[in-house]
């Protein structure tokens, strides 16, 4: 039996359901395109309660995390949320995650649902010592993403915090409809928006989670995993397990920006310092002429196969097929002309650097956004 989130009674009534990472989740409520465009043009809400939420506490918390992730931890101010990676000893990506620093002795990690157990056993194997507590509080909380240019207007009436004071990649402890919550200005769509973790909420008592969701649904469109995938792809964000995995290092994943220069040793640092530079292959965006690229499709040039599509979709903004692909280094130049094998036809395509949309018009950097 798949698990369900605390908002399941709403999804069952309003959405087409699908199983994802062991959870029964909404795939769409109306259509993927409509939900996608609602987020780009207005505001959408996503139940992301299936994502793993882990608390790390104790006097050793900072030094522990410093030895586990490639991003500098101790220089992050309290109230900062940052994207980083968990690496294995070979420098391969076990997972990508957001870490929120509440204090020197208290952090919250948000990890991929499918990787939560692997992440927990990895963290526990990194010899935490006595002054450290690692606690999974996923099932005792709810997580809702509110995303889009009108996300702040949608969430503000429910939140005690003045959202206009919350900067990108910052978070704050506050109350949402009276419930203890952690609100961060983060997301997985490329748009401005927030992720809300509601504490002290379980499947036995889903009422307050449902009240928050339904309160948001007055001004935001409920969005399923279909739109979540097309939005993250259009923004160029990799999906772990598909675009990046434990055999991909941060250089190959085009995520080397997460590595802080000059920090001490961490799991995987030795392997990364010895890794090939530039790497043999690298993650890139590909825009197609006609047709939709899918996982596993080959990318060709005149010299033969030069890459493979790791994930693809139809971009509702570009009205074209777009993909993330693993490209040979010498065919990864931006603007390179390649061909994607869409079943039995070769489609003229171009290598690009995501996001795929025009950042003047879409995304959190858009001109109309005064943040």
């Amino acid at each position: 039996m798949p698990r369900t989130t605390q908002l399941f009674s709403y999804h069952r009534k309003h959405a087409q359901l699908t199983e994802f990472a062991g959870y029964e989740m909404p795939l769409w409520y109306t259509t993927t395109s409509e939900e996608h465009l609602a987020v780009r043009n207005s505001s959408g809400i996503f139940d992301v309660s299936h994502m793993g939420r882990v608390e790390i506490k104790g006097t050793a918390a900072t030094s522990f995390l410093e030895g586990v992730v490639p991003t500098a931890v101790k220089t992050q101010p309290p109230g900062k949320a940052f994207y980083t990676l968990l690496l294995n000893e070979r420098g391969g990506i076990i997972d990508d995650l957001i870490i929120m620093r509440l204090s020197d002795e208290h952090y919250v990690l948000v990890v991929n649902a499918a990787n939560k157990e692997a992440d927990l056993s990895h963290l526990r194997s990194c010899s935490p010592g006595p002054n450290l507590e690692i606690a999974d509080f996923t099932s005792a909380s709810v997580m809702i993403a509110v995303q889009g240019p009108k996300a702040a207007a949608s969430l503000q009436p429910l939140a005690d915090l003045d959202l206009s004071q919350l900067k990108r990649f910052r978070f704050s402890e506050t109350r949402v409809l009276g419930n203890r919550a952690l609100v961060s200005r983060t997301g997985y769509t490329g748009e401005d928006g927030f992720e809300v973790i509601l504490f002290d909420s379980t499947n036995d008592n889903p009422e307050k989670a449902l009240r928050v969701w339904e309160g948001l649904a007055h001004s935001s469109s409920p969005c399923g995993l279909g739109a979540r995938d097309s939005l993250r792809l259009e923004a160029g964000f990799p999906l772990h397990g598909v675009d990046i995995d434990p055999r991909t290092n941060p250089f190959e994943a085009d995520l080397s920006w997460v590595i802080s220069a000059g920090k001490g040793d961490y799991v995987g640092s030795k392997a990364l310092s010895e890794s090939k530079s530039p790497p043999d292959f690298v993650r890139r965006g590909i825009v197609l002429g006609r047709g939709i690229p899918r996982h596993g499709f080959d990318v060709l040039s005149d010299s033969g196969k030069v890459g493979v599509v790791t994930s693809g979709t139809f971009s509702p903004i570009l009205r074209r097929g777009i993909a993330l692909g693993r490209m040979d280094q010498n065919s990864s130049g931006l603007g390179a002309k390649v061909r994607v094998m869409v079943r039995d036809s070769e489609v003229e395509s171009t290598v690009v650097k995501p996001p795929f949309y025009d950042e003047q018009a879409y995304g959190w950097r858009r001109r109309s956004n005064d943040n």
């Binding site: 769409w28 279909g226 939709i292 079943r343």
Partner: protein, 136 residues
């Protein structure tokens, strides 16, 4: 008729692969059913055969693709493609909005209609087929 929220008009012929066929007096108009359209959710590309192409009953003749998935299009009858719905090039969403009317896909001039039509389902038989699929 309406079957568990899916429209299944009387008077059309159906395949188990969720295509419909309608006798237009000489030509057979073909499309996908409301169930197929709703399952695909969000059609963005239709790849139809070309006018003049030969098609054979229950063989693949094109694809209907949504954001999430690609689905083969099977011909309900053998014959020659006489028309394709060119509106779908710029408005593929018509397949979702109007699967039995503006979202039709191709018209086929059948070569063995009297024999082959017997292999197609009527609305009642298609509803029973759908019922058995949805129960699984």
């Amino acid at each position: 008729m309406d079957f568990q929220g899916y429209k299944i008009p009387e008077g059309l012929m159906y395949t188990k692969e969720h295509e419909w066929a309608k006798d237009e007096g000489g030509l057979i108009r073909v499309g996908i059913t409301d169930y197929a359209a709703k399952t695909l959710n969000d059609v963005v590309y239709v790849t139809s055969p070309k006018v003049g192409d030969k098609v054979s009953q229950f063989s693949a003749m094109g694809t209907v693709e949504s954001i999430k998935a690609v689905s083969e299009l099977y011909s309900p009858l053998s014959g020659t493609v006489a028309n394709v719905n060119q509106q779908l090039d710029s408005h593929p969403e018509l397949v979702n909005k109007s699967p039995y009317d503006e979202g039709w896909l191709v018209e086929v001039k059948p070569s063995d209609y009297p024999t082959e039509r017997k292999l197609l389902l009527d609305a009642k038989a298609y509803a029973d087929h759908l019922g058995s699929l949805l129960k699984k």
